[in-house]
Amino acid sequence: MSLAEPAISVRSLTHLRALEAESIHIIREVVAEFERPVMLYSIGKDSSVMLRLAQKAFHPGKIPFPLLHIDTTYKFGEMIQFRDWYPASIGAELRVHTNRDAIANGANPFSLGTQKCCGLLKTRALLDGLAQGNYDAAFGGARRDEEKSRAKERIYSFRDQLGQWDPKNQRPELWNLYNARVDKGESIRVFPLSNWTELDVWHYIYLEGIPIVPLYYAKEREMLVRGNSLIPVEYNYPLLPDEQPEKVMCRMRSLGCSYCTGAIRSTATTLPEIIEELVSFRRSERELRIIDHDQEGSMEVKKREGYF
């Protein structure tokens, strides 16, 4: 039997290996202490990393919980293709939940506005999906460097029976001793990537060769150019008078619903180029996510309502 060399010769972990060890500990802890955990799978780069960490946590066994995708039906086609391929290819079980009633009643971002649309198709759908599966713990790929309200959120984020977060009444969280106690109907959202930064995520994807949705790579795409915003042409979005889609070399920095996720002009077609762009431009990835900016303290308000 041949043995792999220890991670490094001196006994000190690189920051990525230290983050990895911490995340694996968190994922195992949840599986050991909760009855019905689930992993929220958003198809994005953070979900891809979280999935790899889950594989590592239970290797050589399989991931012992299902993945749940909240499908607003406004996701990019390439995201859905990736969703239907990748989790299955690693033997993970994927469940999909959509707020069918809202869709049937015509919920869409153009007529409802992004805030209301998001409330119905994401937050409501998420809460219903979690309630339906009776899940008592849900992993999410959120990171603390993403947004200021997340900077203060615990790794185990307690949610009441309505899925709401109370920022003023969080449980103290010391060392790696997580409090998993919940009463019936209450739950915990767990964020194993809390201490990762966007750069850490990209670097880990690069080192580990983790598959990601091709939308992250630059390519000529049909876009609507509105001021500084690049809006992808999908799902027959209503055009402005005299508006014509243009071919633009661009990529997505983060993935959400196609209408609410702006693209950036970019020529980065490889991971090192994406990372180079990231370290030289230094614009925060959520800048182009409309939902973060539709009102003051936007993310904090959504989280209080039950958004993950």
Binding site: L3, A4, E5, P6, A7, R11, L13, T14, H15, L16, R17, A18, A21, I24, H25, R28, E29, V31, A32, Q55, K56, A57, F58, H59, P60, G61, K62, R144, K148, A151, K152, P167, K168, R171, P172, E173, L174, W175, N176, L177, N179, R181, D183, N195, T197, L199, D200, H203, L207, P272, I275, E276, V279, F281, R282, S284, E287, E296, E300, V301
Partner: protein, 579 residues
């Protein structure tokens, strides 16, 4: 953020090998903490341009500079509304050599628990002192809590030196005051840095305005502080978190190494059973490793089949932890409802959660003066030394020696709230022997340190109890048949005193033996007791109507049942008959 010096490849190589340092800060409005962190983030390019633009465009500017750096650490809306910092915020930046995680905590007395939370995972603390005000209760509190939570490196940042004319004397006086305060705690080796976060002196770049100071700027110090010191590589402590069992061939114990090094081939002791085995593999996704060390998350497989579950701990037999139900600890109380001695709490320690009570409060510690005061309980944000008793033994070390196996939290089982954080200071006297034997008084231990796997290797069968009702002759015939197959077997025939048979069966099974019990006809209660005592998986009782009245045929039926249940390996001569 370090910009790629020559190429992205070089940047990636550097960044890949960079280490991680977690440090804590504490402070409140006006002491310059937000400005200091804002300065670190800004000067290391840890701020995104759009976030910076928002700050530049902000109407608020409490500083004299171009824009207010302290706004970069702006928090929750709830906090902005009240103009205070409520909770720990985590912030991130990096230099080419290191990734830094700041646990940014509020400084007021009512947030002692948040300070403790931030300090629990930090390996360095930056304690802020306002040069104009000198050493205030808040700096003392942060220092004491950092010491209690075992942070190995303390830095005292004497800030706002611009407001005291960069005076060496002011700095020297603060240093002397601080040293006098920490002397009783036995703290040495504190690094003192005079700075102005507002002007940027000695934060990232060395100041030219204080030529009398020859030490490093804060960031230089953060980049050089030794990191390895935070882990103990001597005493192996591997708390079992989860058992990975994908199939019958693999049974691995998953966990994060709390301290020490685990190597392939190493002999380990399992607590609480006290049984020992060797490490067969140290398994990771990348392949089997020759060794793994703290804080890696790995999966360990052992040479022997031992019953191990979550909450057990794998340790080096030459360097055992304490095993006890009683110990003393520093306790930081974190809940509005005060500590009540003798009230049941849940205690979470490594991977086990047990019932616990605080049996006595020895004293309350005044964080500002370090004086010990008598107390009956502890209220929110109070710190004391208490005695704790747990329902099951814990495997622990002094917190000073091991920040993982010396730490615990208390949870109120009624409200589910995390009510306290504890740091174990000592095992209580005179109970080690008693506790050890209690801990080791398990079924396996009473039958000796031989493992079931060793017994199986010798006898080639599992232990079992065959229960017969009034079939004395069948019992003897079956004993003969099994003996002839090389089994360790004993017919325990007692039709008059059958109530002792369950105990006899259990003892025989512990020795690895197949016990054939034949009892009197009215034995239903004894049979069920035996089933419970020896365990269902070892208990074989064929009902009367299933069992042939012919002894020879009945013996064959029973042997087949033993084979089907995996207790006896199938007899290849019989199986192969048809070939």
């Amino acid at each position: 953020m370090g910009t790629p010096s020559t190429s992205i490849e070089q940047f990636l190589r550097e960044h890949e090998h960079s280490e991680m340092l977690r440090f804590s800060t504490a402070g409140s409005v006006d002491d310059g903490k937000s400005t200091l962190i804002g300065r670190l983030l800004y000067d290391t390019k840890g701020v995104y341009e759009d976030q910076l633009a928002a700050v530049r465009n902000s109407r608020i500017n409490r500083s004299t500079g171009e824009f207010d750096l302290s706004l970069l650490t702006d928090g929750l809306r709830a906090e902005r509304e009240q103009g205070i910092t409520i909770d720990v915020a985590y912030r991130y930046f990096h230099t080419p050599n290191r990734k830094f995680i700041i646990a940014d905590t509020p400084g007021h007395e009512q947030y002692t628990r948040n300070m403790a939370t931030g300090a629990s995972t930090a390996s360095l603390a930056v304690i802020l002192v306002d040069a104009r005000k000198g050493v205030l209760p808040q700096s003392r509190r942060h220092c004491t809590i950092s010491w209690l939570l075992g942070i190995p490196h303390l830095v005292v940042a004497v800030n706002k030196m611009d407001l005291v004319d960069w005076s060496e004397e002011v700095f020297a006086n603060i240093l002397a005051d601080f040293e006098a305060f920490v002397a009783p705690l036995g703290i040495t080796g504190i690094t003192y840095i005079p700075m102005s976060a507002l002007e940027g002196d000695n934060v990232v770049e060395r100041s030219r305005r204080m030529p009398w100071y020859t030490g490093p700027a804060l960031l230089e110090h953060l980049e050089q502080a030794p990191i390895g010191k935070q882990y103990n590589y001597e005493d192996l402590r591997f708390p079992v978190q989860y058992v990975v069992r994908p199939d019958l061939d693999f049974r691995g114990y998953a966990g994060q190494i709390a301290s020490g090094v685990v190597r392939q081939g190493q002999r380990l002791t399992v607590l609480p059973s006290g049984r020992s085995s060797r490490v067969k593999t140290v398994t990771a996704w990348e392949g089997d490793l020759s060794e793994a060390f703290a804080p890696m998350s790995v999966t360990v497989t052992l040479e022997d089949e031992i019953d191990i579950s979550r909450g057990d701990m794998l340790v080096d037999p030459a360097r055992m932890p304490h095993v006890s139900r009683r110990f003393a600890a520093h306790l930081v109380w974190m809940n509005d409802a005060a500590l009540e001695p003798d009230r049941p709490y849940l205690l979470k320690h490594t991977t086990q959660t047990v019932g616990a009570t605080v049996t006595a409060v020895r004293y309350r510690l005044d964080v500002n003066t370090l004086s010990e005061e008598p107390a009956d309980g502890l209220a929110l944000n109070e710190i004391g030394v208490v005695e704790v008793e747990t329902a099951r033994p814990l495997f622990f070390d002094n917190y000073r020696k091991n920040r993982t196996t010396g730490a615990f939290v208390l949870i109120d089982p009624a409200s589910n709230a995390t009510v306290a954080a504890g740091m174990i200071t000592e095992r209580k006297e005179d109970n080690r022997a008693a506790d050890l034997s209690a801990a080791l008084r398990s079924e396996e231990f009473t039958s000796g340190r031989l493992t079931p796997a060793e017994r199986y290797a010798r006898w080639r069968h599992q232990p079992a109890t065959v229960w017969l009702t009034a079939r004395r002759e069948l019992a003897y015939l079956l004993e003969r048949r099994l003996f002839d197959r090389g089994c360790l077997v004993h017919a325990v025939v007692d039709e008059f005193e059958s109530h002792v048979l369950p105990e006899l069966a259990r003892f025989s099974n512990q020795a690895g033996m197949i016990a054939i019990c034949s009892s009197g006809s009215d034995d239903a209660a004894d049979r069920e007791r035996a089933r419970t005592l020896v365990g269902g998986e070892r208990f074989v009782a064929l009902e009367g109507y299933e069992l042939s009245p012919d002894d020879s045929k009945a013996a064959f039926q029973i042997i087949q049942a033993l084979e089907n249940r995996g207790i006896l390996p199938a007899d290849r001569f019989q199986v192969g008959e048809g070939i």
